[in-house]
Amino acid sequence: MQRLALLAFVALAAAPVQAQFNLRNLNIDKLMDTAKNVAKATTEIGEQEEIGIGRDLSARLLGAAPLMTNDGVQRYVNQVGRWLASQTERPDLPWQFGVLEAPQLNAFATPGGNVFVTRGLLERMKSEAELAGVLAHEISHVLRKHHLKAIQKGAQTALAGEALQQALANRGGANANREKLISLGSEVLTRGLDKGDELEADRLGVAIAARGGYDAYGLPAVLQTLQAMNPQDSGLALMFKTHPAPAERLDALEKLQGLLDAYATQPQLAERFAATARARR
């Protein structure tokens, strides 16, 4: 590090006076940008920035698996998701929902209102209420900024040193920092959130599905489906790595039996779910 700084200094000293001046200005600007970025990593990230991070992270996720090519299913999932999001304290985020073309079973949220479910998980569902349960769980991650906070936490340690190094190497500091920030997001998606965040998203998810008028047992039903599968199934690897075991999540949800029962007779909409899956578009 010290050697790098020294090299940069020597390079600056060797440059013609005018260029040296400009370079120096440039470096000071970049250093100040970096300082701002580092400061931001420790302070509140605004809503627009949150949305921007989420969009960039979603683009990465879509780079790993594109959207399933069925417009009808994509629109359907957006309607279910947007209706649920409308029942929450952040109804006006630019919510977007997507089904990823992947056989694995999983669901993802990125900051600012992007929610994804894989085709593999959708195929195991039996009703719209089950889909609603899963989407509501992911919506809860966005509401409580679980991923954003995890990214911020990572940025505090990982980005400061990196950002400084980039500034000294006189590269496009802001873009490289950006790249790093989004990579931190990918890391959160593959490493998983804290167990407490997942269990909180289950609790909130059940409540949000009930708010939307759905049978509140949709999410528990999906968890039971997962639990009935062979845990060695390769399609479950990432989901099981990043989430508490389904049995543990079901145990935690048993404490909410009062809430669940109060909204157990609301519609499941199994027929509408099946009809949408059948439609070829």
Binding site: R60, A65, L67, R82, W83, E123, R211, L253, Q257, T265
Partner: protein, 162 residues
């Protein structure tokens, strides 16, 4: 061919979910109910860890067949499944329907070219901005979502977070 595929999908959808029964265990001593309600008449007793076959779900209740042949309803959350891979895609007919939807009239499952979505793929992924644009195209407005909910007879409720 198209008719055949539709017919087979229709047939699958007529099969009730879990109709074959999924092996499960009750996690505590439980009363078997004649109908899915707390105040329903008893249909027998199940000991802790009793083996059952789960047949169907209705709200918070699951209809089960006990090892002795007795049938009735137990609390859905009192059941834990065996995790032996019993639930395969197609149980509900949805997977088959999606397969048909994906592959046109052939009804065959196309798995070639699917890269999948594991940790490695996510870590190494390059941003796909074209797909991000596409995602935006499918988004629903609040009003459209409300109309959709109304068509499904969904009624918004006031529910506090637990």
């Amino acid at each position: 061919m198209r008719t055949l595929a539709s017919l087979s999908v229709a047939a699958l959808l007529l099969v009730p979910a879990l109709c074959l029964g999924e092996p499960a265990t009750v996690i505590r001593a439980t009363e078997l109910k004649q109908s899915p309600a707390t105040d329903a008449a008893s249909a027998g007793q199940l000991a802790e860890n009793a083996r059952v076959d789960a047949l169907e779900r209705q709200g918070g209740w699951t209809r089960v067949k006990a090892a002795g042949g007795a049938q009735g309803w137990v609390r859905m959350l009192a059941l834990r499944y065996d995790g032996g891979g019993a639930a395969r895609p197609g149980d509900s007919g949805i997977a088959q329907a999606l397969n048909v939807a994906r592959t046109g009239t052939s009804g065959t499952q196309v798995t070639t070219g699917v890269r999948g979505l594991d940790a490695e793929q996510i870590t190494n992924a390059k941003p796909n901005t074209a797909e991000l644009k596409k995602l935006e195209r499918f988004s629903a407005s609040k009003d459209a979502a409300a109309a959709f909910a109304e068509r499904g007879h969904l009624h918004a409720q006031q529910v506090s977070y637990p």
